[in-house]
């Protein structure tokens, strides 16, 4: 590490721990992504732009500009432990499939559907998003309608099992989010599905 980078790291470490400064100061630290997705934050400031694209890459900012820096897990916990502890549970996702041509879940999806209720019980104020998806057979507009209708079928099943309708949002994503990418007008059972997100 160069002496300049070492000095910047020291300044950041002190600022993270002390949390005070002569003038308003902002600190940004990029964290590792829990599921390994690409992750980056751009930082526009008085002197230009920094891009943070490595885990624990950091920027120390004042009104005059920015210093690139790096942090570590212990520093982040010391400064951000309270904010991180208050983070809501991430949404839990359940993907359900129907028996071909019928409004009936496959045997596996019937079991998954039961799991939705266990997830709801884990959360203090659960709300649900029911998202319908289609394959690429038919026009995008037709599939928007169809996917929404499938999601409404699942919403009705949830309501029948005692979930308040006002806690459920129904969405039709049409053919925008294929699990198996196909050409247009390809029947693909794995793309015909309804996702329930419990938040």
């Amino acid at each position: 590490m160069s002496s300049r980078a070492a000095a910047a790291a020291l300044v950041l470490a002190l600022a993270l721990l002390a949390g005070c400064a002569a003038q308003p100061k902002s600190t940004v630290v990029l964290l590792p992504d829990a599921s390994g997705r690409d992750t980056a934050v751009t930082v526009d400031h008085a002197g230009g732009q920094l891009v943070l694209d490595k885990p624990y890459a950091a920027a120390q900012l004042t009104r005059d500009g920015a210093q690139p820096a790096s942090a570590n897990a212990a520093q982040v916990m010391a400064r951000f432990g309270d904010a991180l502890a208050a983070r809501p549970l991430p949404p839990a996702s359940f993907t359900l499939y129907f028996v071909e041509g019928r409004d009936e879940f496959t045997a596996e999806s019937k079991r998954d559907f039961d799991g939705v209720f266990a997830e709801i019980a884990r959360r203090p104020v659960p709300d649900l998003v029911v998202i319908g998806h289609t394959d690429t057979v038919g026009t995008p507009a037709y599939n928007d309608t169809l996917s929404r209708q499938r999601a409404e079928v699942v919403r009705n099943l949830l309501v029948a099992r005692g979930i308040a309708a006002e806690r459920i949002v129904v969405v039709g994503r049409g053919e925008r989010e294929l699990v198996v990418v196909t050409a247009d007008n390809v029947a693909e059972p794995r793309n015909r599905r309804v996702e329930i997100q419990v938040r």
Partner: protein
């Protein structure tokens, strides 16, 4: 009395029709200690389960914290002595397109970005007094010292 001009009436009607089915942009999922929501000049006590609206400002007291889930699945949580303004939130759940701008004026904030940032990098920003963050994804923390 002059007859009503048709244009403002039409504009009003369109505004009503264009309003989203749910005015809420997110929900408070966790709360510790003293947390308030400033809405249209009023300061409301924040409770778990409370729904949030665009332009709400969340404030946490000493030894307090709050966690919210936005409609696009973004997760924001603020530590003690924080001020977080939810300046703008628009989200189309069908296309995943939208816009989410928030501002941390003071304190600490942890963010996991959601569907808006995933669909359109740069459609989600977090401002601080010294910078504007463009969120490509996904997890980061921000502190603003006084």
């Amino acid at each position: 009395m002059k007859p009503l001009k048709p244009l403002p009436v039409l504009a009003l009607l369109l505004t009503v029709l264009a309003a989203p089915a749910w005015a809420d942009i997110g929900q408070i999922k966790t709360r510790k200690g003293q947390v308030t929501v400033e809405r249209q000049g009023q300061r409301l006590p924040a409770e778990v389960g409370m729904t949030l609206e665009a332009a709400d400002v969340l404030r946490t007291g000493p030894d307090s914290a709050v966690g919210i889930t936005m409609r696009d699945n973004s997760l924001l949580s603020a530590g003690p002595n924080s001020i977080l303004a939810l300046q703008r939130f628009e989200f189309d759940p069908t296309t995943s397109q939208g816009r989410f701008d928030s501002q941390l004026q003071r304190g600490t904030l942890a963010v996991v970005s959601g569907r808006i940032a995933k669909q359109s990098p740069q459609a989600m920003t977090v401002r601080t007094p010294a910078a504007q963050l463009g969120v490509r994804g996904t997890e980061f923390v921000v502190a603003v010292d006084e």
